[in-house]
């Protein structure tokens, strides 16, 4: 019985897509989210600059 309940709980958590319970300051969470998005955008920018540098080298 215990094993079944554990499986059900695990399945429920996965189905809801949650890895940890809702907690913490939503504003701070939002800031972290924005920081991640900004970092990814900067990452693409770095890739773009590398492409530009390589293109300038060859053309």
């Amino acid at each position: 019985m215990k094993g079944v309940r554990r499986d059900v709980l695990l399945h429920s958590r996965r189905a809801l897509g949650r890895r940890r319970p809702e907690a913490g300051n939503p504003f701070l969470e939002g800031l972290v989210g924005i920081a991640i998005v900004s970092a990814v955008a900067v990452g693409f920018g770095i890739v773009g600059f590398i492409a530009a540098a390589l293109t300038a080298l060859f053309f």
Binding site: G17, R20, I34, S38, F44, G48, A51, A52, A56
Partner: protein, 504 residues
């Protein structure tokens, strides 16, 4: 085909909800009206008061005359979504036309549809002498349309049960349920937009002041540019778009905002809640990463090969920004639009067209095929190739990750490829109309058609106040259809046919 004729009650429900939405669209004109009052822009103020009042008169008349408690069914939702976007654009065009910067009401309708669908193509004349309040209004249309005018209006009014809102939500091209309840989903979307509004506008205002704008102008321009960037719209307060600011830092902040705008609100939700792994596992982010990197490289190489730019900084600032602008569906430009045809060679504009056509993520403010459909179509193709190569009785199962691990089903792939096909046909159809009505080359006509359908807004110059009426109507229809992703419009057409020919 058996068609059941809609009865009076069906039309009543549709009219009732359209009335609510039109009332809300009228209220969008209040913030620019207040700005007009503050700046003594009396004629603009009168235009907004007239426009708001007219929308409220139409909307409230419909609500009073057509009041009903009957629940909204799926077909009602689809038809309401399609019709309300069209009627909202007509109502929103009223103050624009009264501004005196459009030579015809059709031109004003073009811009209002472009604003609401976050396209960004414009036939407004003499933008550089437009009043502040009218400029703000154009950008507010982006904000409202990007968030979804139906969901904005109906959740603010909490008009009815959330189950009914779901049909309208899906009808305007949004089908991702971030939270269990539609109203909570919408409120999360507003929260994201509000936090980005505060931070993004602040960052932009600072960058603009450093670039040389006085504080008042910097704040005004920053608010407008934020709405156009985050909602991947593309209108700008000045005729030279983002190049106007002569600032790499302004371009940098805008790049981040455009990128944020093209991410799905579901992904924002996961990131905000701490599930950063979603960024790497999500099929859409993987697809978008691949296409963005590939098209950026192609675009930059194209510019280098054409001799347009030969230095890294020029290649980066022009090439990278333009591809990001195109791929996110924003449509900001950092050079004159005619140069795409006269000075950018062939490969770079082709990369731009490819980026526009693909678009951003689903359930974001971007247009185009959407990364999820590109990803699903590719996965479906790979799965089918594996089926061919493996023994006949082998069971081939493909999965993908979109918030959770999901099995790739035939109907999912079919649905994705159907919409991609519809987009492709619309791109080509619009290009044909462009060829029939102008002297443009095929590549230029295709560029403009893709820009309109994918709600991007970059232009090679075909979109102009003197473009042929047929072409203008075609682009309006393309922007409308692209924003709603076709199904709601097909439902509306089917409803109309049923009205005329259906059996009782």
């Amino acid at each position: 085909m058996l068609l059941i004729r809609p009865d009076r009650d069906d039309l009543r429900i549709i009219g009732y909800y359209i009335g609510k939405i039109l009332t809300g669209v009228g209220l969008l004109q209040i913030p620019p009206a207040l700005l007009a009052l503050a700046r003594s822009e009396w004629n603009s103020l009168a235009a907004f008061v007239f426009g708001t009042s007219l929308a409220i008169i139409v909307g409230q008349s419909a609500e009073l005359r057509l009041h009903t408690r009957r629940p909204l069914e799926w077909s009602h939702g689809m038809v309401t979504a399609a019709l309300s976007w069209l009627l909202a654009a007509i109502m929103a065009a009223v103050p624009l036309y009264l501004s005196g910067h459009f030579s015809s009401f059709l031109d004003a309708l073009f811009d209002s549809m472009s604003g609401l669908t976050t396209s960004g193509l414009s036939v407004l004349q003499d933008l550089d002498h437009l009043t502040w309040s009218m400029n703000l209004y154009r950008h507010i249309l982006h904000f409202a349309g990007g968030q979804g005018i139906i969901i904005v209006v109906l959740t603010l009014f909490a008009a009815s049960g959330s189950a009914q809102l779901g049909t309208l939500y899906a009808g305007e091209g949004r089908d991702e349920r971030i939270m269990p309840n539609i109203i909570r989903t919408a409120r999360f979307i507003y929260t994201v937009a509000a936090v980005y509004l505060v931070l993004g506008t602040s960052a932009l205002a600072v960058a603009m002041m450093v670039a040389g704008l006085p504080p008042g102008s910097a704040l005004f321009e920053a608010v407008n540019i934020f709405m156009a960037a985050f909602d991947t719209g593309g209108f700008a307060p000045h005729s030279t778009s983002i190049a106007y600011y002569h600032s790499a830092s302004v371009e940098g902040v805008i790049t981040i905002l455009m990128f944020a705008g093209t991410l799905s609100f579901g992904l924002h939700h996961e990131l905000w809640r701490g599930d950063r792994r979603e960024l790497f596992r999500n099929l859409e982010t993987r697809t978008l990463t691949f296409t963005l990197v590939a098209l950026t490289a192609l675009g930059i190489v194209g510019l280098g090969r054409a001799g347009t730019f030969t230095e890294p900084l020029s290649l980066f600032r022009k090439g990278f920004f333009t591809i990001i602008s195109a791929h996110t569906g924003t449509g900001f430009a950092v050079n004159n639009s005619v140069l795409y045809a006269t000075d950018w060679g062939q490969l770079a504009p082709a990369a731009v067209v490819g980026a526009m056509a693909l678009g951003g993520m689903a359930s974001s403010t971007a247009g185009g095929f959407k990364a999820i459909r590109v990803g699903l179509s590719m996965k479906g193709l790979v799965r089918d190739i594996r089926k061919v190569l493996l023994p006949e009785n082998a069971l081939v199962v493909s999965t993908y990750h979109q918030r959770t691990r999901q099995i790739l089903r035939d109907d999912t792939v079919r649905s994705a490829t159907t919409i991609v096909l519809l987009f492709l046909l619309t791109y080509l159809g619009g290009a044909m109309v462009g060829l029939m009505t102008t002297d443009a080359a095929f590549t230029e006509a295709l560029f403009e058609s893709v820009s309109a359908t994918a709600n991007v807004g970059l232009s090679v110059g075909i979109t102009s106040p003197d473009m042929p009426v047929l072409l203008e109507l075609t682009y309006i229809a393309q922007m409308w259809a692209g924003r709603l992703e076709f199904m709601a419009i097909f439902a509306m057409v089917g409803y109309g046919l049923a009205l005329m020919r259906g059996r009782t």
